[in-house]
Symmetry: C2
Subunit: 116 residues, 2 copies
DNA sequence: CCTGAATATCGTGATAATCATATATAACTA
DNA sequence: TAGTTATATATGATTATCACGATATTCAGG
């Protein structure tokens, strides 16, 4: 007897992970976890075009992962839940343990841990 | 000066989260975290067609998240890293805190926590 | 070797995500 | 009010993902 129940909740969880499933959005979150940032600052740190950054922020906003705060004409973004840092850190751990298959991935991992 | 460096590593991290960004794959991982399972057993628990289950398992396999073990003609799958449970649990926490917006989502969350 | 059971892969059409360009809004400032 | 800066949204082209059905593969028994 199959549990034909697709599970609405898993749909929401999947949506959450989907929000993290993009290189630029991960970079954005890593930056915002250090400190809240304006769109401009993100733009500069990421070397990405303004609409792209706003687009990705819109996605993170839509999923309630990130929160905008207007200060005059600029908007500073902040991560809503510090636990997101924990999440990324656990992800990094799993990554180091089992996911690092290719040589180039290992090289990049080494470079990153040297940086932090 | 922008760090035009897109960061190869974030690409890999994104790939990892992309692997989790699917309702069925999340269900599969939750089941496998309880105990390793054959494709058939997953099929039954999920109420999904066989090719679908194999497909999603292939994706998880490709990302080294899950590991196949042949026993004769059947294949049992296991999660490679127990820390994945930790990851899902942190994700659930974030979820409960800030992401649960809609009524139906809250109802589902309540149902799930009652179940465990 | 042939068959049947368990699993994997392929091909296809539909849907969604992404990037880039252009345009729009909103708030300051002169 | 006009101009300027910061941010957001609309839109179209391209590519990726998905579900589904059909076909392959693998292995055990006879």
């Amino acid at each position: 007897m199959a549990e034909s129940h697709p599970g609405q909740l898993q749909v929401f969880k999947a949506e959450f992970f989907k929000a993290l499933a993009h290189p630029l959005r991960i970079r954005i979150l890593e930056l915002l976890l250090e400190d809240e940032q304006s769109v401009q600052e993100l733009q500069r740190s990421l070397g990405a075009e303004q609409p792209i950054v706003s687009q990705q922020l819109a996605i993170l906003r839509a999923k309630n992962i990130v929160e905008p705060r207007k200060h005059g004409t600029t908007v500073r973004y902040a991560v809503r839940d510090r636990a997101l840092g924990e999440l990324l850190s656990v992800a990094r751990k799993i990554f180091n343990n089992h996911l690092a298959g290719t040589q180039t991935m290992l090289r990049e991992l080494a470079r990153e841990s040297r940086r932090r």
